[in-house]
């Protein structure tokens, strides 16, 4: 635990705040922040119930905000790609396969997550989409090839995992309001 920089926990706390906000709105409590050059530039939390769109995960919410923002500021796709390559993601739960693929397409620099996602995780639990399979030496690549190549990102789990898990636990104990019918009877908190 002590080997991580203090700021790692500070940013994860902000991601947990987002997750808390999701919980308060009857959403699956997962939250995230994007950090560029030591500054939070976007945050997001799950919005699947509100939108009835099960793909509106915290990461997708934050990514859409960034793309819109940068587009409004007149950035070209190549410039947007450069900005994403400087981004570090802090997310309370391991990105799912969908989000991990998306983060790889965008080419972010690094990701820190809280708890692992045994069922859907795309950063090692089920698939490992964060690892790059492109073995070309960097000097070999031209600029345009860099922008188009399959990119991996560094990924570290277990940052404040127990906080992330306890949020998820309290959500599932109150019952997922968006589920079609309960798979098991709702339990009162022990």
């Amino acid at each position: 635990m002590a080997s991580y920089a203090k700021e790692t926990f500070e940013f994860m706390k902000l991601a947990l705040e987002q997750a808390n906000d999701a919980l308060a709105n009857l959403e699956v409590p997962v939250g995230c922040v994007f950090v560029e050059d030591g500054e939070v530039i976007a945050s997001g939390r799950n919005r699947t119930t509100e939108t009835r769109n099960a793909t509106r995960h915290a990461e997708m919410e934050a990514i859409d905000f960034l793309v819109q923002q940068w587009q409004k500021n007149g950035l070209s796709p190549l410039e947007v790609s450069e900005r994403f390559s400087k981004c570090i993601l802090y997310v309370t739960c391991e990105p799912c396969i969908m989000c991990a693929a998306a983060l790889s397409y965008l080419g972010i620099k690094e990701a820190y997550y809280g708890c692992a996602n045994d069922k859907f995780g795309g950063c090692g639990s089920v698939l490992s989409l964060h690892t790059s399979s492109s073995n070309l030496p960097t000097s070999y690549k031209h600029n345009s090839e860099l922008a188009s190549s399959k990119k991996g990102f560094k990924c570290t789990g277990g940052i404040m995992a127990s906080e992330a898990v306890s949020l998820l636990r309290s959500f599932y104990e109150q019952g997922n309001p968006n589920a079609p019918k309960p798979h098991r009877p709702l339990k009162q908190q022990v």
Binding site: T51, P77, I97, G122, V126
Partner: protein
């Protein structure tokens, strides 16, 4: 696992893409193992000892003992000792020491042989496996009907929707993109449809279908009797198929940054956009449904609900439960997982995606048992595809 329907005079096909890669029965992957002929009287003792010192961890389907009848009807027993380690030359020093001890004390003469690496998934595979070395076979317990059994009527409906999807994918001038059409198979209604919105011109072209896809579009489709129109729609698009496929988002998901500037979004692949439209349509059709209380019953009766003179299904579906999606190309990992999240029932795609496909080509999400939802996956082969395959093969090397 094929269900072939012929439509005069050309052949359409719906091919099930299974959860595991399939092999021709005689081409199943094998691994080398170390075995020895043994005396029948030693068989029980040796099997017991081997199960302790060298259990067949990844070869649970492989039997330990092979019984062969040699000349004169006399049975000969061979025993599988262990998997070979390192190079398969069968040298004694490759053996774990416990096995080596066993070999010495029972004076066994070892030999290398092959066994099938994966458990058989069909009787035909099993028959082939047993020619090498006996294995056990457990037929699948799930109900295969409903996965592979398409009636003539249903097949025609599938081909019709796929033609419609390919028409969408090729309808913007000067480019081919991926297209996604979400269908309620029980009513044969289009719930939502979209094309890739990763690059600017695609986005512009999509504004048309976006406007239509939630409400008018459904009406138009119903009015125009979709299935009878397919042939004429397609005639116009075959010529346009000779466009490059560099703009198909799921084929080149990492290359968005090389696109022209303007109105664009790197992650707005067709399936993601179609899911968004179907969710928006759900909100529009059932605005009052809110998950205010976790205890509130989810399925609310909406009988008699009318919109533009058409009555809709009485039950609001949960996400895309029960719906099918048609895609021109096999989806990438992001889109395939999005379709798991949105609980789509079946996926039909036309062309495989060898660079990034997640339904059999690179990954195989329908076979990931840990996921909380599983869809059935089919490839739909249309006769026109011969034309398209030529286009794809010839043009993918060109770069944008």
């Amino acid at each position: 696992m094929k269900n072939t329907k012929s439509v005069s005079p050309q052949v359409c096909e719906i091919i099930h893409i299974p959860e595991k890669p399939s092999f021709l029965p005689h081409l199943q992957p094998t691994v080398n193992v170390l075995a020895s002929v043994i005396e029948p009287k030693d068989a029980n003792t040796l099997v017991r000892k081997l199960n302790q010192i060298a259990p067949l961890e990844n070869l649970q389907h492989v039997k330990r003992v092979r019984k062969k009848c040699i000349d004169g009807g006399k049975p000969q027993l061979s025993l599988l000792l262990c998997m070979t380690v390192g190079n398969d030359d069968g040298e004694d020093d490759c053996m774990p020491c416990e096995i080596l001890e066993l070999v010495k004390s029972y004076q066994l003469t070892t030999f290398i042989t092959r066994v099938c690496k994966y458990a058989a998934t069909s009787k035909e595979e099993w028959d082939e496996q047993c020619k090498l070395w006996p294995t056990s076979y457990h037929p699948p317990t799930y109900n295969i009907s409903g996965i592979t059994g398409f009636s003539e009527e249903e097949s025609q409906s599938v081909f019709g929707f796929m033609r419609h999807t390919i028409t969408l994918a090729t309808s913007s001038v000067g480019q081919v993109v991926n297209a996604a059409v979400i269908v309620d198979p029980s009513t044969k209604q289009v719930i939502a449809s979209a094309c890739d919105q990763v690059i600017s011109s695609a986005s512009l072209a999509n504004e048309v279908s976006k406007e239509g896809s939630c409400s008018n579009y459904i009406e138009n489709l119903k009015a125009s009797n979709l299935e009878n129109q397919q042939t004429s729609l397609l005639d116009g698009s075959i010529g346009e198929l000779k466009h490059i496929t560099n703009n198909v988002a799921c084929l080149h998901p990492w290359q968005w940054a090389l696109r022209s500037s303007g109105c664009w979004h790197p992650l707005r692949h067709a399936a993601i956009v179609a899911i968004e439209y179907s969710a928006a349509g759900d909100l529009q059709l059932f605005p009052d449904y809110k998950a205010r209380s976790p205890l509130k019953k989810q399925k609310i009766e909406e009988s008699g609900f009318q919109s533009n003179g058409h009555s809709y299904q009485s039950l609001r579906p949960y996400l895309c439960t029960g719906y099918d999606i048609y895609l021109a190309w096999e989806p990438c990992a992001m889109c395939a997982m999005a379709l798991v999240h949105q609980r789509v029932r079946r996926i039909f795609f036309s062309s495989p995606n060898s660079s990034a496909g997640a339904l059999g080509s690179v990954h195989r999400l329908q076979g990931e048992r840990s996921l909380n939802h599983h869809y059935a996956v089919f490839r739909v082969v249309l006769p026109e595809e011969v034309v398209r395959n030529k286009v794809v093969d010839g043009k993918t090397s060109g770069s944008g």
